[in-house]
């Protein structure tokens, strides 16, 4: 899927990302990178995937999150820039 506005992505600036991993994410881990769970989806054969939204200050923080997921043995399905996602709005709803 192409993103028309990816040119506004900054390496050293803030950004919002949607990360999908296989399985569930515990609250403790979520606290580590201050993300929120967007949805938990049934992907068949009794398995689920979790979609989380994270706001990061820069790519260094994003890299740190990927490392946390890896250290907790969570397989990455996708990671995509999601600039239009408003965390505050979704938390309040």
């Amino acid at each position: 899927m192409s993103h028309p506005h990816t040119y506004t992505i900054q390496f050293s600036g803030p950004g919002t990302y949607r990360i999908r991993v296989l399985g569930n994410i515990g609250k403790n881990m979520l606290d580590l990178f201050e993300g929120i769970v967007e949805s938990v989806d049934d992907i068949g054969e009794g398995k689920v995937s979790t979609s989380i939204i994270v706001n990061v200050l820069d790519q260094a923080q994003l890299c740190g999150i990927i490392n946390i997921l890896y250290d907790h043995r969570l397989a990455l399905i996708s990671l995509i820039w999601a600039p239009s996602y408003n965390i505050k709005e979704n938390i309040s709803t």
């Binding site: 515990g26 009794g46 398995k47 890896y70 043995r73």
Partner: protein, 907 residues
Amino acid sequence: MNRSPENFTKIQFVAKSKLYKPALRKEFVNRKALIEQLEANISAPFTLVSASTGCGKSITVSQWIEEKGHNYGWLSLDEEHNDVQVFLTYIVALFKEQWPQRTFHLESLLGGSDLPSNLISALLINDLDETHEPYVLVLDDYHVIREQKIHEIIQEILQFPPEKFHLVILTRRDPPFKMARLRAQNKLLEIRMVDLAFTADEAIKLRSKIASTITDEQIKSLIQNTEGWITGITVGLMGLKEGISFEKILASLTNSNSIISDLFDEVVYKGLPINIQKYLILTSLLDQFSLELIRTMEASIDDSDLTQPGCREFIRLSRERNFFLIPLDSTGEWYRYHHLFRSQLNYRTERYFTKEVVERLYKAASGWFEENQMFEESLIYAIRSKDLQFAVTLFNRHRIELFNHDRIQKLNQFISLFPPQAMNDCLEIVLSSAMLQNYNANFVDLAKHIDRAEELSKALDFYKPYDRKLFGELHCLKDIMSFKSGDIERTLFYAEKAMEFIPGDEHYFHRESSVAYYSMALYVKGLKDQALENLDSEFGKFASSDPYYKMRLLQGRCLIHFLEGNTDLLATDGEALKTFAASDIFPAAWMMGAYSLATSLYITNRLDKIGEFHEDVKKHRYRGWPLWIMHFYFIKCLSDMATGKWEELDREITHCEILANEFGQESIKGLVKAFQVEVFLRKGDIDSAVAISPFANFNVGSSFWGLYYIPELTQVKLLILTGKEEKGKELLQNLIHSAREYRKNNHLIQCLALKAIVYARESRYEQAKELLCEALALSKDLNHKRTFLDMGWGILPLLKEIGETQADNAHVLSLLNAFEEEKRYSLKKGPEKNITPKKSISDLSKRELEILLLVSRGANNGEIAEELFISLDTVKKHLYRAYQKLYVNNRMAAVRRAQELDLLPEE
């Protein structure tokens, strides 16, 4: 505190627990296939075990080493190993464990400054090459390494691996190595997650060890859902043992790979009494723990759940229920938790202990480590306790000891552990850092630190003994600064205050520094005897029984001899200092001794002996004070120049440059460039000297000790030879003034001799002779020779004239003899064309050149006298001087030589 040198080596800087290989227990399943795979690759240099946490990396490699009985060193890396020096210290500690009797090339780098990776890897390779038995080095948790230099060192070793050496890297993520090349060269065995995954057979063996009831079918299902992940399978089996249904375990495994997190409460906590739960949380605060340490911690908090029988029960249960506890030694004294398990416990800390209690626990741990002489750990936990003052107090207790033992680099390392604001807020750290700046010849930062310390010291209470010592330290720094800026009265004032505030039984380093500066200031005031007496009264009474005092006494004496330029005493006290300090115990003091002796040998023109211990200095070049080490190298270079060893000179100059880069301090790099300018000037290559002069630092601030080489004099020579004569002369006059004021005879002789040459260039021979006579009078008793010889052949006519007119001319005659000796290295026999001087500071004067020009046109002495409106005698005098300078004895030869040297146009 016993300060005998033998005691210093006992200070612990290596945390032994980081050198333990994980001990094996019967619960572990033997991984035969993997062990054979590892063994089959032993002839290749490298095995990379890269897998996520909980895959059994460490245990598998530990089993292989134990089963096959390999010689090994095991280093569990952590954050601190990102410091190259710390990394090397641990590597040397490993080597020392394996080969206690051997000394290693790598040891010469310990305590040094910023070093290039290729140098480190070369020495490491050499050390391992000298090993005749196979050796396996395991670097565990390599993923914590971020320092590029360490990656470079490892890669260079793998590029040129020693024959009997095998490196195993255990890491959670691949290191940034050029893996493709290693794969192509067959230098690499990779063990990855898929290789570490448990097979059904292995899971069945594990089942029998955990005594879990599970069918073979269920095992297969477990393996499928965990991809063979050992920790997942283990937790699953433990869960079954605890009565959790297989369906629930499977569901958890299917939808959450954070299986420990999901099953933690049920697997670990179920049925555990509250006191055991608390013990689990308490121990999870520690990177490693022992029973004794836990007891100390529990005693520090008032918690009725934590009592001694509970502690024993906790250890028993931990072993029985396999709380992912990894034994760190074979005696079962030290343990650490599995990373995943520990993080789960950490999440629960707040449930059991308040922040205040946690801080108290950290403090208690810190205290225990300190008591057991594991200072690094104790400082780390003190900093974790968030009580900065407590950490500073702890640091302060040890920093004084570290200062007392000249452990300068170690102090640097410890200061870097503190959060940045500590550098601004904590007086002790600012004071320590200031003293380190002095050691690094960084006087700009020293001044800044003193200003900050001054501000912070306003909060001190003068009547508290501890605060008074800090005042003393501040005054000690101020006396250094005052001496450097030439304010002798203030030096005396501050040094006296420092000695008053610092008792003689604790802050030895600072007190002794003040005693030394006080004595130097007395010397400068013309009270040499009092200066030496002062040193004697401080150290002398203990010097006969305690080598430490003897060493400090000798250091102080050497500093005064440097100022005085007393070559005899520099030689005797330098030699004694070298002996008492011993290179491996007080390297900085030893270096000062070596430099004192070398300087004395050089000045008195006994050059053949200097090379004798230069090799020794090279070995310890990273352990002393960079400034003194550089000056030692300069002495060697000057000696090579004087003896015509031009190739050796070039090599040493290159060494100096490399070393300065390795030290990494701009001031030192600039100093080396200044010395290079000096060498070019002596070779007569002014163009090269000018070209590098912008990078030179002629005012490093080292001159105030009276060290032999004076960068400022190089600047004077450069200015004069590049047409800025007035500026050069002004600077020279200032230097003469300062040398007189400080009674730096060594410097004064050099400055006066140079000024004599400058006068001679201007044909002001009478003034030149006058200055030279003063320099000779000063140098006579001090037996200075090289200063005159180094001025070159331009000084010869002046010396001869003085020799002819003086009644007591023994000193001048000995110098003239030395010049005759020196002829064999003179320009005529120089090995390379490019070292033939074309133009030097002791060149022909303008008048002499004019006369030679007329000679070259065929004029006789009478015609010349007429042409230049001077008397016939004056013409003869000028010609005679020109012959002397050009090493010739007739007018035609003089013209030919002048033409060869491009001083006159060819006909």
